[in-house]
């Protein structure tokens, strides 16, 4: 419960940029996960100094803070599960400085990925991480999740581009981590510690990112297979050739059908499609294309399409990025997409085993339809669960299935999240995976956040199951009816 004197003080410097209106606090209790918990207040700071004043107040009154970019997190990271304040970064959305000569850009956390790239394009540069949610994902959110997306195979993840961060610590200090230099061996890599911390270790208020020159040219190959394992094999063979494309994407039949239902795109609806993005000079691309076609044919591709036409490439890439939200189009009105086991990363060579294994697990769970897609070239898969979220049995079935899938991921040498993070919904499986380091991580959290105000109860701190505070109209018979 936020004390009234604290609310008064917030209003004294934020004015109408603090809201306790029931509709507002209800809306800010959602993200794109399965969870919902109402906030007690929402604040909209416009500067680092305002963030600092808010954090100091929260620390004084021991009120939880959940930072929020666009609220598109899939595992509950932006849900104020312990109540308190949600801090929206919609008003801290300026690109502060583009310094191409130093290969860097300085931004506020609310800047959106695609908007940043539209600006950088004017200079012939780009920020390579390219999440499917790039139209909406904020840079602050991407840093907090260590997001990456389609080009991680060649370019790496957000972590690899974070040069420096300005952070308001949980106790209200303003700290500058990292440097504005390409190289940095000056003590602990604190900026990297903040990457992927999901708002549990402090609030990021300014980000300096490394940028790259735009590639000269790109082409995209679509290779269609009637056997998903052979699609997986094609990916491994391309990498082993050796050939490192900008991106290698995988979509199974359920995903292809959903995206075809959702928009005008000429994807073939087959067992699996591999989409390969090649870049370089015209000659380099020509050579690589030959190799890719050869490998795909050898693995039984039933259809191979190539395009260097900007409109067609954009159509394919946008369709691929729309897979996740399109999933509810697969069985309209009967089954709905819920965010469970949304993300996992594997050694690249284990992709065929994982895809096969997931679908074998699916056969044992009749209430779930599973879609598998992802950035398979870098070993990162996503799965989408389609269930009827009004049915208790569907949730019980899905819960068991998630556990079996993550057991398989761990058995294959993978990790429970490649880019979407842990939040609430993946926390139990992360604990299983990181048995010998979880206590150490908790000690770091306690050292930086002694009053446990920063996005409390998430990630390393979550010690409950996954079906809690559900946003769907179902009674699972638990204490809170969830």
């Amino acid at each position: 419960m936020i004390p009234s004197e604290m609310l008064e003080e917030l209003r004294s410097f934020l004015g109408d940029r603090v809201s306790t209106a029931p509709a507002d606090t209800y809306v800010f209790g959602f993200d794109a996960s399965i969870h919902h918990h109402k906030a007690e207040a929402v604040v909209f700071p416009e500067s680092t100094e305002e963030v600092q004043r808010i954090v100091k107040l929260c620390n004084k009154y021991k009120v939880p803070i959940t930072p929020r970019g666009s609220g598109s997190a899939l595992a509950g990271q932006a849900v104020p599960i312990k109540g308190g304040i949600v801090m929206s970064f919609k008003r801290m959305n300026r690109i502060k400085e583009v310094k191409v000569e130093d290969l860097q850009v300085i931004v506020e956390p609310g800047v959106i990925n695609d908007q940043l790239n539209a600006e950088l394009k004017k200079y012939g540069f780009f920020f390579p991480p390219s999440p499917g949610s790039g139209k909406v994902a904020t840079i602050g959110g991407m840093v907090a999740m260590n997001a990456s997306g389609m080009r991680a195979l060649k370019y790496g993840a957000t972590r690899d581009y974070v040069m420096a961060l300005e952070v308001v610590t949980p106790t209200g200090e303003i700290a500058h981590f990292g440097t504005h230099t390409i190289k940095d061996a000056s003590s602990y890599q604190m900026a990297k510690l903040m990457v992927g911390s999901e708002g549990t270790l402090g609030i990021i208020t300014e980000i300096t990112l490394r940028i790259e020159p735009l590639p000269k040219d790109t082409s995209i190959v679509l290779a269609a297979f009637e056997d998903a394992r052979m699609a997986g094999q094609t990916i491994s063979d391309i990498i082993a050739y050796p050939l490192i494309p900008a991106s290698v994407e995988f979509m199974d039949r359920v995903c292809l059908q959903s995206v075809v239902n959702s928009r005008a795109v000429d994807f073939p609806v087959v067992d699996a499609v591999v989409m390969i993005e090649l870049e370089g000079t015209e000659e380099e691309i020509k050579e690589d294309l030959k190799k890719v076609e050869q490998i795909a044919k050898k693995n039984g591709a039933v259809d191979i399409r190539v395009s260097s036409d900007p409109a067609k490439k954009s159509e394919w890439l946008e369709a691929r990025k729309a897979v996740l939200p399109s999933m509810s189009q697969y069985a309209r009105g009967k089954m709905f997409m819920v965010s469970l086991a949304d993300d996992m990363s594997l050694p690249i060579s284990k992709i065929p085993d994982a895809v096969y294994g997931f679908h074998e697990i699916e056969k044992r769970h009749p209430h779930v339809v599973l879609g598998v897609y992802g950035h398979a070239g870098d070993g990162n898969l996503h799965t989408i669960f389609l269930i009827d979220p009004r049915e208790k049995e569907a949730w019980e079935d899905a819960e068991k299935m998630v556990e079996e899938m993550y057991d398989l991921v761990i058995e294959l040498g993978g990790t429970v999240s490649g880019e979407h993070g842990i939040g609430i919904t993946k926390a139990p499986f992360m604990r299983k995976e990181k048995k010998d380091s979880i206590e150490l991580m908790k000690r770091i959290k306690r050292a930086l956040d002694p009053n446990d105000i920063m996005n409390p109860g998430k990630n390393v701190e979550w010690d409950d199951g996954i079906l809690v505070d559900l946003r769907y109209p179902v009674n699972l018979g638990g204490e809170d009816g969830a």
Binding site: S19, Y26, V27, A32, S72, K90, I112, V136, G333, M337
Partner: protein
């Protein structure tokens, strides 16, 4: 509860937020609570009972122009505007504002948004209604009430100039404002019945419109209640497309640009017809705004927002006007033209064409 019909739509929302970043209201107010996703979540909360109906819920539901950018952006295929309109039916009885209720009363009691017609709606055009014409021209309240009639006069003059066999109508409000506000359905139905009786009386097989909202009502809403499958509906720019050529026009214009009205564009996909008509004017000084066609930004006046929160309408109009670079904004919607005229020079496409036509 009316929202029950939309539960599947609400559950289909994956909360991806794609609609949020494109919403012109959200981009002014900068809060997720006033985004399409937020409005769907509020509707969902009202349906489940987790959220109590109060002033804060109604405010967020009415802070929307129903421009349809969200429907256009939604990869999950949620009919967001339909959900919002349904939720407004829940909100209207207790939380509509006085200005909205006065509009509704005017329409119910006197037929029009502006109250009682002082003279027949067609009077200022001098073109009397007649029976058994080929087509009817439906003027719409906005033109008869607030735009100095210029758009209606120009439309009628163009049709006369082309020797079209057409009639004006003793029409009443199409009912669009009632629907946008969430007013009781029987009031909308009463408007439909009056208008359809008049159209039947004239014996026409086609009705053309200057107002995209009227066009929307007749094409998409009326058929749910009355059988009008034998009558064709068109916006005037669709009707005129192909009937004029460059020889009909004097050359040159002041610097102009075209604003795509939300319904005409995103609902009906009418993007090229108005541009083709404008470009018939030889040497037209024409340039597109940054957001055009399906990405066009709402003028801010739609969905009854101008009644509910005029200051937000003003901010949205200013944002859109800033893209026009000082050019005259030409549009095919009297609501957009009326709204822009408060901030910059704007005119209807009918006026532009009629002014430039060789007489």
């Amino acid at each position: 509860m009316v929202l029950e019909e939309y539960v599947d739509q609400m559950m289909q929302c994956t909360s991806c937020s794609f609609c949020t970043v494109t919403c012109p209201v959200m981009n002014v107010l900068l809060t997720d609570a006033s985004s399409p996703r937020g409005r769907v979540q509020i509707a969902y909360g009202l349906y489940t009972g987790e959220l109590e109906l109060d002033e804060s819920a109604s405010k967020r539901l009415y802070e929307c122009t129903t421009c349809g950018m969200c429907d256009h952006s939604c990869p999950s295929g949620v009919h967001i505007v339909d959900v919002i309109k349904a939720a407004r039916k829940v909100v209207y009885p207790e939380f509509s504002v006085e200005k909205q209720r006065s509009f509704v009363n005017n329409i119910g009691e006197k037929g029009h948004t502006y109250g009682e017609a002082k003279e027949p709606v067609w009077a200022f055009t001098g073109h009397e209604p007649k029976e058994n014409a080929e087509i009817a021209y439906f003027m719409g309240c906005k033109i008869t009430a607030e735009s100095g009639h210029a758009q209606g006069i120009a439309a009628v003059r163009i049709l006369e100039h082309l020797n079209e066999d057409f009639t004006t109508l003793n029409e009443v409000c199409c009912g669009a404002p009632l629907m946008y506000m969430g007013a009781p359905e029987e009031k909308i139905r009463a408007q439909m019945e009056k208008n359809m009786a008049e159209i039947r009386k004239r014996g026409v097989k086609k009705v053309i419109f200057s107002c995209p909202s009227c066009y929307y009502m007749f094409s998409k809403v009326y058929p749910k209640y009355v059988d009008i499958s034998d009558i064709e509906f068109q916006h005037i720019v669709e009707y005129l497309d192909g009937k004029l050529d460059m020889d009909d026009f004097d050359s040159g214009t002041e610097p102009i640009t075209y604003h795509d009205p939300c319904h005409l564009g995103r609902t009906f996909g009418v993007y090229e017809e108005p541009r083709k008509l404008i470009k018939l004017i030889p040497d037209a000084d024409y340039m597109e705004m940054e957001h055009n066609r399906e990405n066009s930004l709402c003028c801010g006046a739609g969905g009854s927002l101008a009644l509910y929160e005029p200051s937000l309408t003003k901010k949205m109009a200013e944002r859109r006007v800033s893209e026009s670079d000082g050019r005259i904004i030409v549009s095919a919607c009297p609501n957009c033209v009326g709204n822009f005229s408060k901030h910059t020079k704007a005119m209807s496409i009918e006026e532009l064409l009629w002014n430039k036509m060789k007489k």
